[in-house]
C-alpha cells in the first residue's frame, strides 16, 4: 500500500456520544445504594482508514453504522473521543479553530439534503461568495465575482440566476449549488455524505456525472458516503464497508463486488435488487443490528454471522491485508474457514 500517497489517515479513532443530559439522569438505585451509571452510544470503535490521493473511497453501511459520524470526525466538525486524524501527514484533530482554518479550505463537505444545507435567506450569489471571501480576504470584488461565475458555470447553473433564492430551484439544482459551494474554494478533498439519496433517479445521474467531472478536472479526492451499492459500483475506486462503528472490509471496488470476503459484505451485496433479476435471493442474516449502546463482545457481527465460533465471541478481529490487497476484519477469513 506504500506506493500510494496517503492524503487522509484516521488512526484508531473512537467516538462516543453520552446519552444522559445531566447528573440526575445518571443516578440509579442499585441494591439499596445510589450509583452513578454513565451510558453512551459508541458510534465509532477503533476505526483505521487511509484515503489515497486522487481516489474516490466509498463508505457503505446501513443506517446507524457510523458512516456520517466518521465523515464529521474526519472533517473536524466533531472531535473524536480518542484517536488521531492526519491530513497530508499533519495531525489535525487536536488543532484549535484558527490553526485548522488552513486545512478547512482544502477539505469541503457536501451534505445529503439540499433543502436543509442551503440558507433559505441567502441568495445563491451570497452563498457562493461567503466561502470565497472568507478564505481569500485579499481578493478584490471583481476577482470574487469572477470565481463565483466560474464555479456556477462549472456546475451548470446559469450565473444570471445568482440573485435567486434556494426555494426558486429544484432539488437537483439545489444540490448543484451546494456542490458549487464546496468547489468554490478550490478544495483538494471532498467528503460527500449521501449527496444523491434525496434526489430522483434521472436527477441522480445528472449529479453523479457532475461529481465525476469535478473529480476528473480538479484531481479531487473523495470520501463518498452512501447506502446505495449500485452507485458505489459505478463511482468508487475503493470501498469501505462499515458495520456497527468499525470497518469490516476495505477493498478495490471491482474486487469487492466480484469476491466479497466478509460475511456481512456478502449479505449486503446479495440484498441489492438487480434490474434483471426476477426473484430476490439474498443471504438472510439472523436477528437485527445490535444497539451501539451495549456493543457485543468480540466481533460485533458474531451474533448474526453463520460462520461465528467461540473465538469470534471473545476476540475482536483486526483488519488484516490479504494477498489481493483487500483488508478484512474476520477470524473466519483469517483462519481460512471462509
Amino acid at each position: 500500500m506504500s506506493e500510494h500517497s496517503i492524503l487522509v489517515r484516521a488512526k484508531n479513532v473512537y467516538k462516543e456520544f453520552p446519552i444522559h443530559a445531566g447528573l440526575l439522569e445518571e443516578l440509579h438505585f442499585e441494591n439499596g445504594r445510589l450509583t452513578r451509571k454513565r451510558e453512551s452510544v459508541k458510534a465509532i470503535n477503533g476505526v483505521q482508514l487511509e484515503v489515497r490521493k486522487g481516489e474516490a473511497l466509498c463508505v457503505v453501511g446501513e443506517s446507524g453504522c457510523g458512516k456520517s459520524t466518521m465523515a464529521r470526525v474526519i472533517m473536524g466538525l466533531i472531535k473524536p473521543t480518542a484517536g488521531e486524524i492526519y491530513y497530508d501527514g499533519e495531525r489535525i484533530d487536536n488543532l484549535d479553530s484558527t490553526k485548522l482554518l488552513r486545512f478547512r479550505r482544502k477539505m469541503q463537505m457536501i451534505f445529503q439534503n439540499p433543502y436543509a444545507s442551503l440558507n433559505p435567506r441567502m441568495t445563491v450569489q451570497d452563498t457562493l461568495e461567503e466561502p470565497i471571501r472568507f478564505h481569500n480576504p485579499e481578493n478584490s470584488k471583481a476577482e470574487v465575482q469572477e470565481k463565483v461565475s466560474a464555479v456556477m458555470d462549472s456546475v451548470g447553473i446559469d450565473p444570471m440566476w445568482g440573485e435567486r433564492y434556494p426555494h426558486e430551484f429544484s432539488g437537483g439544482q439545489r444540490q448543484r449549488i451546494s456542490i458549487a459551494r464546496a468547489l468554490a474554494v478550490d478544495p483538494e478533498f471532498i467528503v460527500a455524505d449521501e449527496p444523491i439519496s434525496a434526489l430522483d433517479v434521472s436527477i441522480q445521474a445528472q449529479v453523479l456525472n457532475l461529481l465525476k467531472d469535478a473529480r476528473d478536472e480538479r484531481a479531487l479526492t473523495y470520501i463518498f458516503i452512501t447506502h446505495d451499492l449500485a452507485v458505489v459500483e459505478h463511482f468508487g475506486t475503493r470501498v469501505a464497508v462499515m458495520y456497527l462503528g468499525t470497518f469490516c472490509e476495505i477493498a478495490e471496488t471491482r474486487t469487492l463486488f466480484s469476491s466479497p470476503r466478509h460475511p456481512y459484505t456478502q449479505a449486503l451485496l446479495s440484498a441489492i435488487p438487480r434490474l434483471n433479476q426476477e426473484r430476490p435471493h439474498h443471504i438472510k442474516l439472523k436477528g437485527e443490528v445490535p444497539t451501539p449502546i451495549n456493543l457485543p463482545s468480540g466481533c460485533v457481527f458474531h451474533g448474526r454471522c453463520i460462520h461465528a465460533n467461540e473465538r469470534c465471541q471473545h476476540e475482536v478481529p483486526k483488519l488484516r491485508e490479504l494477498r489481493d490487497g483487500t483488508t478484512v476484519a474476520c477470524h473466519a477469513v483469517e483462519e481460512g474457514r471462509l
Binding site: H234, L268, A271, E288
Partner: protein, 335 residues
Amino acid sequence: MPLLEVKNLEVKFAMRRGDLTALRDVSFSIDKGERLGIVGESGAGKSVVAYSILNLISKPGYISGGQILFQGKDLSKLSPEEMRAIRGDGISMIFQDPMMTLNPVLTIGTQMVEALHAHREISDQRARAIAIEKLVQVHIPSAATRFAQYPHELSGGMRQRIVIATALLTDPLLIIADEPTTALDVTIQAEIIELLLELCESSDVGLILITHDLSVVGQVTQRVLVMYAGRIVEEGLTHGIIRNPRHPYTQGLIGALPQQTVPGGRLNQIRGVMPSLANTPSGCAFHPRCPHVTDICESVMPEYSIFDRSRVACHWVKDQLGDVGEQKINETPAP
C-alpha cells in the same frame, strides 16, 4: 371481471388561479392475485392514483372524472360511510414510513385490535388471536410479546412488518403499498420484498406497488405502469419493459441507472427536470426533455399505441411503427 378497474380517471386540484390537473386519462386494471407496479419520479402522480382509489384525496383535490370500479362498484360514487367499510377491509394500504403510520402512544396490539373491531363484530379475545396469527404470518418472532409493545421498541424493519400484518387483518382482496421499502436499509428491504411476494403468492391477494425504484418493481411485480406528469406513458409486462422499454422516458429512466453503464463511465442522464403541475408542457408533457422530439410532440398529446399486452403514449414510437409495420414488433412473452 377484473378486481379493480380504473377508467379515464382525472384528478384536479382547485387553486385560486384555476384548476391544476394532477392526473389525466388514467386507465388500468388489476386482476385477483395480480401484482402491478406503478413507477415514476416524484410529482408523477403515483401516490395520487393510490389516494384516489381509496378516496383519500383531500381538498383542494377532487376526482373530476372517470370511474374506479372495485368488484364492479364505483368507489368514487360511494358515501363516506360506505367508503369507510371498504377502506382497510376490501382494500388495505401500506405507507412509506412505518414510524408515521403507527401511533406512538398505543401498543401494537391496541392498534391492531382497533383496526379489526372497525370492520368485524368479534370479541376482544378473538381479535387478539387473529392479530397474533397475522404477526406470525409476517414472521415476527415472539409475536405475543411484540403484541404488547410500543412502536418505538421495535426496529424499522419490524415496524414495517407490523404495518403489513395490520393491512392483512381483514384478509383484503387488494393491498396498495406506497413506497413500502424506501425508508428501509437494503438488507431489510430485501426481507420486506420477499415477505410481500410470499404473502401475495400464498393468499391470492392483489398488490399495487408504488415505487420510484425500478429494480424493486422488477423483483415484485408482473405488470408495470410508468407515469410521467400525471399520465401513464407506458404500460406492459414488467420484464418486457425492463428489457425493452419503448417510451423515451422509460428508456431514459432505465438508462440512467448506474448498473446500465460500465463502472466509472458517464451515466446517461435525462436532461431537465420533471415539470410542476402548474406548468405542464403542451402536447406530450415529456417533449422538452425528449431526445426524439418533433413538432407534433409540442402541440398534440399522443394517443396510446397498443401492442399485444402493452401500450405506449408517444408519437415517435407510433411513427416507427408505421415504418416497420405493426406485425414486426416482437411482443415479449408472458413470464
